[in-house]
Symmetry: C2
């Protein structure tokens, strides 16, 4: 599929999709004229990339991570190095802390909201 359709289906801008390619996160075939041609799997991949971005991972880390994932059409094409595993574990722990922080913040907000509503 073309970049426009992929953008529509994933709700991600064409700009971002090209950026993902530049960062090595998303590969695409090319038509003879040079237009990007994405496989169906690209949809899931873009969603996954967005998810990891939302989790605070940087593109470099995602680029290392993606080849180690079970892909929708087969096993991982690379094995995570111990170094990468350590990095990912650190990220996982960071995410855990972030979640805990967010829960507290949400409770703080709830308190303010309840006080205001009780007025």
């Amino acid at each position: 599929m073309r970049i426009g359709e992929l953008a529509r289906r994933t709700n991600v801008s064409e700009r971002s999709l090209r950026y993902y390619e530049a960062q090595g996160l998303l590969a695409a075939d090319r038509t003879p004229g040079g237009h990007r041609d994405y496989p169906e799997r690209a949809v899931d991949r873009v969603v996954l990339i967005q998810e990891l971005f939302a989790a605070g991972l940087h593109s470099t880390k995602i680029a290392q991570l993606l080849p180690c994932m079970r892909d929708s059409d087969g096993g991982p094409s690379a094995v995570a190095t111990p170094r990468l595993v350590a990095d990912l574990t650190a990220e996982r722990d960071r995410i855990d802390r972030t979640i805990a922080d967010l829960v507290r913040s949400r409770d703080t907000l709830d308190e303010v909201i309840q006080v205001a509503e009780g007025t």
Copy 2:
């Protein structure tokens, strides 16, 4: 207390503390010479500000929110407007979604880590 001590105690840079003041998040008395002089309460306030920043709130929203909070030394000095309550509710819901996203991301990472460790 002076800005240096506040920075040390909150683990927030002096730069950021001055920024908070410029954004109307953190007030400080001044010595005759112009140096900032913070009350003890400032410590808690800075921690709270950091927490709200971590939750993704922007300084403008925090500036609106803070006066409506039960302060350590008394009741709120302002009442949340319906508009603000709506905003905060939206933020709270956004945080909820963020938490859900993070949980999924963490699980994704865990999966990769486990696959790698099982090698």
